[in-house]
């Protein structure tokens, strides 16, 4: 016979509460579990893992809305890995210490003077112009090496039909500033120029030789660009305003090459919204399979097989990184009304991982992510043989991050372009005489 107390307890629902408590005790740990490296987040388990943690932070807090949107609607999968931060280049750190004090930011023009090498600015979130300075850091202290020779392929993908076309390009960029001083090298080759770039198609046949020669001046004036027109075997100057136009046939604007390809002051504003930790791919490796018989085999970093055919494959591993969240407002003639940029907070790493373009209705239009990876002498061997040629000199050790693959997704057009690097060579010792308009003409043979 049950006691009065027991009866009271039953009537008052204590067993139910106890059961609920037990239930909570058994389930709450599952909802907030620490996910192990190797976990794959996808549409099927997203709701389940949102409150779980990885390296102590909830998945929900680290997923960008644009990433959650892709997981739910575009079959994006993220394979998690533990964060690994690479040792910074000593030469770069030394250059930052030596030259950062000389760099001046003019709030009136939002222009910068006095840059020679290293990181231009230390970021203070309280600074009204911290957003500008994050972008200036990226603009001047760009990763990937000061002398870049990068044959790569562009894969043009339609969400509904898969891989449509492939174009092979050569990227040849010589930075005239920001060069490190090891071996007695000068940090600045030309005070007036930031970089010279050759960017041209090497295949298919009808496009072979078509490309750009661009001089990026260290001033707010627009870049000088020339295009080689294969059909008439002649170069032609491009409008300086072309920086907001799409690159021929690709889903990238000229402004979006390397995520941000504009001088920061061309934007109306750059505002630092805050600091957060997000998922990025920062330990990718060059992985082009030479001689493969199918595109799926040749380009394993992209999941060309499965819909929507543009997602990074699970060969890529995502890890939490702390980033500056910066909002850019481009000029009115720019196709995008707003641009979001996520840049590493490390004071000696200017890397930008992801950018988002929003249309005039503030809807996500473009998502661009670079699958980055380290490049230095010590880890070159990790890449597929022959894919990477690191610098033979510490002068080029600034190649902290290279880009084995980058994806440009245009959600409106249901179309994407990937640049897929076949080789990353920062060992070249060519000078300004090799990056010229004449060289572009010669490439068009």
């Amino acid at each position: 016979m049950l006691s009065k107390t027991t009866l009271w307890a039953r009537k008052s629902g204590i067993p139910l509460l106890a059961g609920m408590a037990l239930c909570v005790m058994t389930h709450v740990p599952a909802l907030a579990a620490e996910l192990p490296p190797g976990t794959i987040i996808n549409k099927a388990n997203l709701d389940k893992v949102m409150n779980d943690t990885f390296q102590g932070k909830t998945i929900k807090s680290m997923l960008l809305p644009s990433q959650e949107y892709q997981i739910r609607n575009w079959a994006l999968q993220m394979k998690l890995r533990k964060t690994y931060l690479h040792p910074q280049s000593k030469g770069f750190i030394a250059a930052t210490k030596k030259y950062q004090k000389d760099v001046k930011f003019d709030p009136k023009t939002r222009e910068v003077t006095g840059y020679k090498a290293g990181m231009p600015f230390e970021i203070d979130p309280a600074d009204k112009y911290a957003g500008d300075k994050v972008i200036w850091n990226y603009y001047y202290a760009h990763q990937g090496g000061r002398t870049q020779h990068v044959p790569h392929s562009w894969l043009l993908v339609n969400a509904d039909t898969g891989l449509e076309r492939r174009q092979d390009w050569l990227w040849l960029r010589l930075y005239m500033k920001g060069r490190l001083e090891n071996g007695g090298a000068k940090p600045v080759l030309d005070e007036t120029i930031v970089s010279k770039t050759l960017f041209f198609v090497t295949a298919p046949y009808d496009l072979r030789g078509i490309g750009l020669f661009t001089i990026r001046y260290d001033s707010p004036k627009l870049e000088d660009s020339w295009v080689y027109v294969k059909s008439v075997r002649r170069t032609r100057r491009l409008s300086g305003g072309a920086w907001v136009d799409p690159v021929d046939g690709l889903d990238s604007l000229y402004d979006e090459i390397w995520l941000i390809n504009a001088r920061p002051s061309w934007y109306t504003s750059w505002k630092l919204l805050g600091k957060k930790t997000i998922f990025v791919v920062a330990n990718s490796k060059m992985d082009w399979v030479k001689g493969a018989t199918t595109p799926e085999q040749e380009f394993p970093l992209v999941d060309l097989k499965n819909w929507p055919h543009w997602n990074p494959s699970t060969v890529n591993e995502w890890e939490p990184r702390e980033v500056w969240e910066v909002e850019g407002v481009p000029p009115s003639y720019h196709p995008h009304a707003r641009k979001m940029v996520y840049a590493h907070t490390d004071p000696n790493d200017p890397t930008v991982y992801i950018s988002e373009g929003y249309d005039k209705e503030n809807k996500l239009w473009k998502y661009i992510q670079y699958m980055l990876g380290p490049l230095d002498k010590t880890n070159a061997g990790q890449h597929r043989a022959g894919n990477v040629i690191p610098s033979t000199s510490d002068d080029e050790a600034q190649s902290l991050s290279i880009t084995p693959m980058g994806v440009y997704i245009d959600f409106k057009r249901r179309h994407a372009s990937h640049h897929y690097c076949r080789l990353w060579d920062v060992s070249a010792t060519f000078g300004p005489d090799k990056v010229t308009l004449g060289a572009l003409e010669a490439a068009g043979k």
Partner: protein
């Protein structure tokens, strides 16, 4: 054909075999996605295309009895192989070799057969036959040649050398050419409408040296053409054989034909011996000898926001002028009898060309402005002393005993009319604006801003004297004005990541009237296939022969002699409207 002219000579056996061996190459090596080898040591690349053209008339050609509208005027196929081999380590650094070969074959359409029949029927009742127009397929359209072969090297720091048969393009002008006169063009199989003008350009054997001078922000280019080229590789080649791109009223008329029976004077003697060629190319004329070296120098630099080039070129006048025998004309022309006993010869006298080009971006209007100013010394022209008379025909008729008014033959070729060759200096000026139009994305839904270009080019004959009666073009008699000005424009659009690319090209002859309009659309189908649909429309104001004047059966008939004093460029091209479909498979 062989016997006619050097420029139209038979296929050279050695190049043909070389081409054949190149054509077999794909069967022995799998074509790669071309530049995969760019990062390979000692890379060998093989690319190219297989291309077909099908083009139909949109107008009836009056020269034929049949209605030619909707008939094909071109069914053509080409295979082009483009191979390069790089050798990374040599005593002078990396060296690369390039060979480009092209094989062209055509089917004789019913329309071409009709033109060919006209040619075989004899010119102007004189009985001229045996020229390329009698055998169009083999002698005009079918070709097999190694178009380019050269070696690239950089033996010294900053010096790039390209030695061999190659193409060099100078200047800025679209459609027309001011400074781009290093090479002649072969316009016989397609006029200037072919979008890849590299396929029309006639490569030359040259030493091409370029020295980079970064300290001065530019490069110096030196060209030397030692004179090893074949005769036919120099100067423009037009369809003077009555083919599909012969000019209005000259279809079926082969100027390169032979007077098999000659022409006898009234006294029975031969005025023109049998087998005399009516018009022959002479590429060894003292004024323009292919074997003579030609050369040029060009500085390309940057002055602030302006890119510029300074050019000098000693070369041949690409457009030929006509030198007529004094035996018939009875006038001293340029003092040299045509070679090989021809009645008339086409020669390419040498000229000096001095050019300046400038281009720069103007942020205020977000447009690129380009200009080209070219001074040509001793540009040869044909002129006529008496525009109302036809000296050659008159001379022939007089000699043959015809009574006045000597208008039985229409053999009205300017330059044969008494003036001969006159040399003048000329100044060619081009001004162009290129602008991208973002509005096309909103208005027309293009995937990127449309490209718009408008260009004006003016040719100014210096020290012009009207009474010198400089004529505009061979076989047409209209006098040229002091200024001849053309306005052209392009609007290029693109859709679906540049896989659908419509383009409109427009031209207006501001001096002599007439327009052209070329709408086209190019489809990019994956990596390999390209399709192009294009229409060519010409709107003329005048005509060499009006319909009323044109004989019903044949344009090259007897009286009435046409009035030729008004027809100019757009009039030459009148009645050539056509619709083209082109399909390419590239590898």
């Amino acid at each position: 054909m062989g016997k006619i002219t050097a420029s139209g000579s038979c296929l050279n056996r050695v190049p043909f075999l070389s081409v054949l061996s190149l054509l077999l190459l794909p069967f022995f090596c799998t074509p790669v996605f071309a530049e995969e080898g760019a990062e390979r040591p000692n890379a060998f690349n093989l690319g190219g295309y297989i291309r077909t053209w099908a083009q139909m008339n949109l107008q009836d050609e009056k020269a034929t009895k049949e209605n030619d509208r909707w008939d094909f005027n071109m069914l053509r196929g080409s295979i082009l192989l483009d191979a390069d081999q790089k050798i990374d380590k040599t005593p002078i650094g990396p060296v690369s070799f390039k060979v480009i070969a092209r094989l062209d074959r055509e089917l004789m359409t019913n329309y071409l057969r009709r033109l060919q029949d006209l040619s075989r029927s004899g010119i102007n009742q004189l009985g001229g036959t045996g020229g390329p127009g009698d055998n169009m397929k083999e002698d005009i359209y079918d070709k097999a040649e190694i178009r380019e072969w050269y070696v690239d090297m950089a033996p010294f720091e900053r010096l790039q050398l390209r030695i061999g048969k190659q193409q060099v393009v100078w200047g800025e002008t679209d459609f027309f050419r001011a400074m781009d006169v290093v090479h002649g063009y072969d316009y016989r199989w397609r006029m200037f409408m072919e979008p890849e003008n590299e396929e029309l350009r006639k490569p030359l054997i040259m030493l091409n040296a370029r020295v980079q001078v970064p300290e001065l922000g530019g490069s110096l280019q030196l060209l030397l053409r030692p004179g090893f080229d074949r005769d036919k590789d120099v100067g423009n080649t037009y369809d003077v054989n009555g083919g599909r791109y012969s000019l209005s009223s000259l279809k079926g008329l082969d100027f390169n034909s032979f007077l098999k029976n000659g022409l006898k004077a009234a006294d029975g003697s031969y005025l023109v011996p049998p087998n005399t060629q009516i018009v022959a190319y002479n590429k060894r004329h003292p004024d323009g000898d292919v074997n003579d070296p030609t050369y040029g120098v060009r500085w390309a630099g940057q002055a602030g926001p302006i890119s510029y080039t300074l050019n000098y070129l000693k070369t041949f006048s690409n457009d030929p002028v006509e030198n007529t025998t004094t035996r018939i004309a009875g006038y001293p022309l340029n003092g040299v009898e045509p070679a090989n006993g021809a009645l008339i010869e086409l020669i390419h006298p040498k000229i000096d060309v001095f050019g300046l080009t400038l281009n720069g971006y103007v942020p205020l209007v977000d447009a690129v402005f380009s200009t080209e100013v070219v001074f040509t010394r001793d540009q040869p022209y044909n002129n006529q002393i008496d525009p109302s008379s036809d000296i050659v025909s008159t001379g022939i008729e007089q000699a043959m005993g015809f009574p006045p008014p000597y208008d039985n033959f229409d053999f009205y070729i300017p330059g044969t009319t008494g003036g001969g060759v006159i040399k003048k200096n000329k100044l060619t000026t081009m001004l162009r604006m290129d602008k991208t139009i973002a509005l096309t994305q909103q208005l027309l839904g293009t995937s990127k801003p449309g490209f718009f270009s408008v260009q004006m080019i003016d040719e100014w004959i210096l020290a012009f004297r009207k009474n010198e009666n400089i004529i505009d073009l061979l076989s047409f008699g209209a006098p040229q004005r002091e200024h001849s000005t053309m306005l052209t424009s392009i609007l290029a659009l693109s859709y679906r990541n540049e896989t659908i690319n419509p383009m409109l090209a427009f031209g207006w002859d501001m001096s002599y009237q007439g327009t052209f309009f070329f709408p086209s659309v190019e489809f990019v189908l994956g990596n390999h296939w390209r399709a192009r649909l294009e229409a060519n429309f010409f709107f003329n104001q005048h005509e060499k022969w009006s319909d009323a004047e044109r004989p019903a059966t044949h344009p090259i008939g007897l009286n009435p002699r046409p009035n030729e004093t008004s027809a100019h460029l757009m009039d030459y091209l009148s009645n050539n409207d056509s619709l083209l479909f082109r399909l390419t498979y590239q590898f």
